[in-house]
């Protein structure tokens, strides 16, 4: 995947770190100190759509077959997460119990065009 530079044009991953102290949550979230809420941004022009390895999948292969048949049949392409991982949290719940949980698919590691 590609990380966005200063001015994202093409599909890329925009890094965005939420510091729990900045939003006043450091008193009830024990660990970690923040959340990498990265997101996907940028365009997916036709020549980038479905390049295997960006969002290699069966879906992409089918799209390539359609495009090969007739460019007019090609559909829009989206810049979406292609790899995500869990966010592990250690926090106090409403009864001041200490809870540890891994929230699946919360952190985007890479983006690609469908």
């Amino acid at each position: 995947g590609v990380n966005c530079g200063g001015d994202p044009r093409m599909c890329c991953r925009q890094e965005f770190f939420v510091d729990f102290k900045e939003i006043g949550w450091e008193d009830w979230i024990i660990q970690p100190e923040g959340y990498h809420m990265n997101y996907c941004a940028g365009l997916c022009p036709l020549h980038m759509a479905g390049i295997p390895g960006l969002a290699a999948s069966f879906h992409t292969a089918v799209l390539n077959r359609i495009k090969a048949a007739s460019a007019a049949a090609a559909v829009d392409s989206c810049c979406v997460p292609t790899q995500r991982r869990p966010l592990s949290l250690l926090y106090y719940d409403r009864d001041s119990n200490i809870v540890k949980t891994d929230i699946p698919d919360m952190i985007v590691d890479s983006c690609g065009c469908t």
């Binding site: 939420v18 008193d27 959340y35 989206c78 966010l87 719940d93 409403r94 001041s96 200490i98 949980t101």
Partner: protein, 233 residues
């Protein structure tokens, strides 16, 4: 995304930088609270004492290494081996310290509260109660641990299970309370009540000071319930 299609980050890109940051921070809060099933962030917590927390973490680690020795298939730090893909159900580990309730000279009631958000959507995998006995003198002495459950007919509590132990010397005991905690997880206010009774000459079964590192606690492991399978017609 295609024009008009909704996606959380697309709209953000069009905002002015300052507004964009605020929108993203709001999105982060909303996303975390939604995944923790919390309507709002919890109020400022009353953390346990440092001594009690360190003791509980040590006992949890000791318990894991015992289990790991018993089940070599588990990973070094006591986690279950990775399950088959698609089994990524969210799991919770909960550490709950006792609140002391009514007491007599040689018995006391303890309460352990579990949040509705977790209790309402998970199933208990295991739950263990840890108790420290401060025996005043060596030699076998009888103590009783009663698990009480709400009485559906009224405000009182009924006996769910009674365990008698012979305590030889001061030390920790752990009891499996998985079934009792699971039975709570369907209730409005999931609260486990435990009654401890010791010989008259022991005095109170609880440490005198709440910040004592021998304060009773429960460690529970829960997993999000599998979503109901959609029956194919």
């Amino acid at each position: 995304a295609a024009k008009g299609a909704w996606c959380p980050a697309c709209g953000v890109a069009a905002l002015a930088p300052g507004t964009q940051r605020d929108a993203l921070l709001a999105l982060a809060k909303q996303s975390i609270l939604a995944k923790l099933r919390l309507p709002a962030r919890p109020r400022v917590p009353q953390p346990p004492s440092r001594g009690a927390l360190l003791t509980a973490l040590r006992r949890m680690r000791a318990q894991r290494s015992d289990t790991a020795a018993a089940f070599p298939g588990m990973l070094r730090d006591g986690r279950d081996p990775p399950r088959s893909p698609g089994m990524g159900l969210q799991e919770y580990e909960i550490l709950s310290f006792a609140e002391s309730g009514s007491s007599t000279s040689h018995s006391v009631r303890l309460h352990f509260r579990f949040s509705q958000e977790v209790a309402g959507s998970t199933e208990i995998l295991q739950a263990t109660l840890y108790l420290f006995w401060a025996a005043p003198s060596p030699g076998a002495q009888p103590v009783t641990v009663r698990l009480l459950q709400p009485d559906p007919a009224g405000p009182n509590r009924t006996l769910a299970r009674e365990t008698r132990l012979e305590v030889q010397r001061s030390g920790w005991t752990s009891l499996d309370v998985g079934a009792a905690v699971q039975s709570l997880f369907g209730q409005e206010t999931p609260r486990l009540t435990v009654e401890l009774e010791v010989p008259e000459d022991w005095g109170s079964p609880l440490p005198s000071d709440h910040s004592d590192s021998h304060w009773p606690f429960v460690v529970a492991k829960a997993r999000a319930r599998t979503p109901h399978r959609v029956h194919r017609r």
